[in-house]
Symmetry: C2
């Protein structure tokens, strides 16, 4: 039994065929001038010997590592798995690896993480910035995934449009007093979503915004948000800017005996993993992460792998991925947590009650499987 053979290199293939290593390189890459027959023989013996090119050596020579960095504000974020998965898939499809870096929500750590990635020689990076921060111009192609209102080059979901979709959905269901549930005022993403919600609800709808972090500053983490009182005071819908907040609202309302969606509606954002399996399943809006990841990675690759272009032009744009901001539409997913407006207010009940009664019996059944973009009729 032979010893474990080290993975053979190009010289091994070259020696086996009696040619030079350069010829092997040319044959495998198809770049130089090699006769077709020899190229075929090279490929055959490469396969036979189990040749695996050393990406390290290639990186040293070419200056490109074939690795992209992914910087995330907080890996604990429940949306992170989807982002990471989408980015990893898009990168892998183009032959790139993905190195992760966690900035732990800290700005200093974020820049430190970015530096670590640069030292590791990534060819480019995708950054989901901590809210409120901008990414400085580092000497490396960067694609930012945030929100279109962030200045700079970003690819992102169209959070505003997503908010509009939810807003229109609720307005069409007859809701006239809606409580918007946000987490943190300084998040650009959340601001966009709330702006879109207000726009989608229209002028005839009364909106208030409740900020969870403000309440928790007083009541401690995980404290009650007082949503039942809000419901009793006439709000018939609770539109959260994240499924996590929506879940919190849903359970708090259910716990207080307020039925969802018969009494109030609850909607979220992002279609996180639990959204389809809670009862009632959450109506939410979904980011098209595969597309976003493809755009971000594609923009990076376009800078990293220059094709036939003027050198001056590419050099100038070398560290900025693209001049335009891409916004990818979000998709409304109607499930059971949203329904026609009812009211817990004794004095306002007269108008809302009929809607509840005229609802087709199969309404929820129809809506539970199809994530339709169009709003359901009532």
């Amino acid at each position: 039994m032979a010893v474990v053979r080290q993975s053979p290199n190009m010289s091994a293939i070259a020696a086996a065929l009696g040619v030079s290593a350069a010829t092997v390189s040319n044959a495998l890459s198809g770049k130089g001038r090699v006769s077709p027959e020899l190229a075929e023989k090279v490929r055959a013996t490469a396969a036979a010997l189990g040749y695996v090119p050393s990406l390290t050596a290639r990186a040293l020579r070419t200056g490109r590592s074939g690795v992209l960095g992914l910087v995330l504000p907080d890996i604990g974020n429940p949306l992170f798995p989807q982002i990471a998965q989408a980015i990893e898939n898009a990168a892998a499809a183009l032959g790139y690896g993905v190195l992760i870096a966690d900035s732990r929500g800290d700005i200093a750590t974020q820049t430190e993480a970015i530096n670590r990635l640069i030292e590791r020689g990534v060819d480019g990076m995708v950054v989901v910035p901590r809210r409120g921060t901008r990414i400085a111009d580092i000497g490396c192609p960067v694609a930012v995934i945030d929100t279109p209102s962030t200045p700079g080059n970003t690819v992102s979901a169209d959070h505003w449009q997503g908010g509009e979709a939810i807003g229109r959905h609720l307005a069409q269901l007859g809701h006239r007093r809606v409580l918007l549930v946000g987490n943190n005022k300084s998040s650009n993403v959340q601001s966009d979503r709330i702006g879109g919600l207000r726009a989608g609800l229209g002028l005839g709808v009364h909106c208030d915004t409740l900020w969870i972090e403000t309440i928790e500053d007083a009541g401690g983490p995980g404290c009650p948000l007082g949503l039942a009182d809000k419901a009793r005071s006439g709000f018939t819908a609770f539109a959260a800017v994240s499924d996590l907040s929506a879940l919190r609202a849903l359970t708090e309302l259910q716990r207080a005996g307020i039925g969802v969606p018969e009494m109030v509606s609850v909607t979220g954002f992002d279609d996180l993993i639990w959204s389809p399996v809670v009862t009632p399943a959450l109506t939410t809006v979904r980011m098209d992460l595969p597309t976003i990841a493809d755009l971000a990675i594609g923009a990076l690759i376009r800078v990293i792998e220059p094709e036939a272009e003027g050198e001056a032009a590419t050099a100038a744009a070398a560290t900025r991925v693209s001049c335009l901001t891409d916004r990818v539409p979000m998709q409304l997913v109607v499930r059971q947590s949203s329904g026609p407006a009812s009211s817990l207010l004794p004095d306002a009940a007269a108008g809302a009650e009929p809607a509840l009664l005229t609802l087709p019996k199969s309404w929820h059944a129809k809506n539970q499987t199809q994530p339709t973009a169009g709003e359901p009729k009532i």
Copy 2:
């Protein structure tokens, strides 16, 4: 204004000081014989020039890339953020980068992902295997995070002990009929957790196990699990093997008008992100992921960076991280979703009503528009 200077290399430092590149290398690494004064000067100019060592070149020369791979069965898993974060932190602390690979729940993709990592020259990898799979002996140090009952070298939480903790907790609260809620029968982790639960509950407690996937095979994804009926038939506690299932159970029960924890208790596993913020906050059991990550990474590093050891011995163990299986204790987190056993059984009490009457008066008032149990009328 000078042109953008390329990051200087060792030769630049050497030239600036009039010494050889080898001396610079020795000075910075502290390995060869360099006079202390010169070493200090080298460090100073290195800092002054903004020298950043090329990890690529070092990797090529030493054969070690300083990168570890992380293979995950399904990045969509809600536990993933915590695992990735813990692994990334542990690796970064030791100067290693982390390359992620998603096996998308597929066995073929898993091996393919592992191969991609090997081609990229990772020094070792941490694998969270898809349930039911074993990791073949690849020519690369591997640490497996799974469950102690998986054969092979694994680091993991002590799922059995975690189950015991929950089981004892429920038993002490007086629960005598407990429904265990699992997802998938073939998961070793889930089997361990269920085994631990049964052990912790003890012999005097009646247990049934409900498998969500089995139910969904018939009812479709997200279908009702019929837990309210289970509650009415006498189960007073629902112990899920994951917080996701627990959340599903919690909302389904709440929706059916069954109060948690007054009527039934619900517990989960893993302390996922929503567990503290739902109402009632979930009683669960938490993995000590930082410790698990430290153990896994530490075991890898021990193989990768051999210290003063016999060569034969290390060569033999080169691809297997350690012979012993580490199991890290889990920590019970008691929150509001578990409480003293009540009963909805008509024969155990006058009926469902009494339990309901022990609730705060406001609770019942808020629910008066709804029938006590069963689906809401629309």
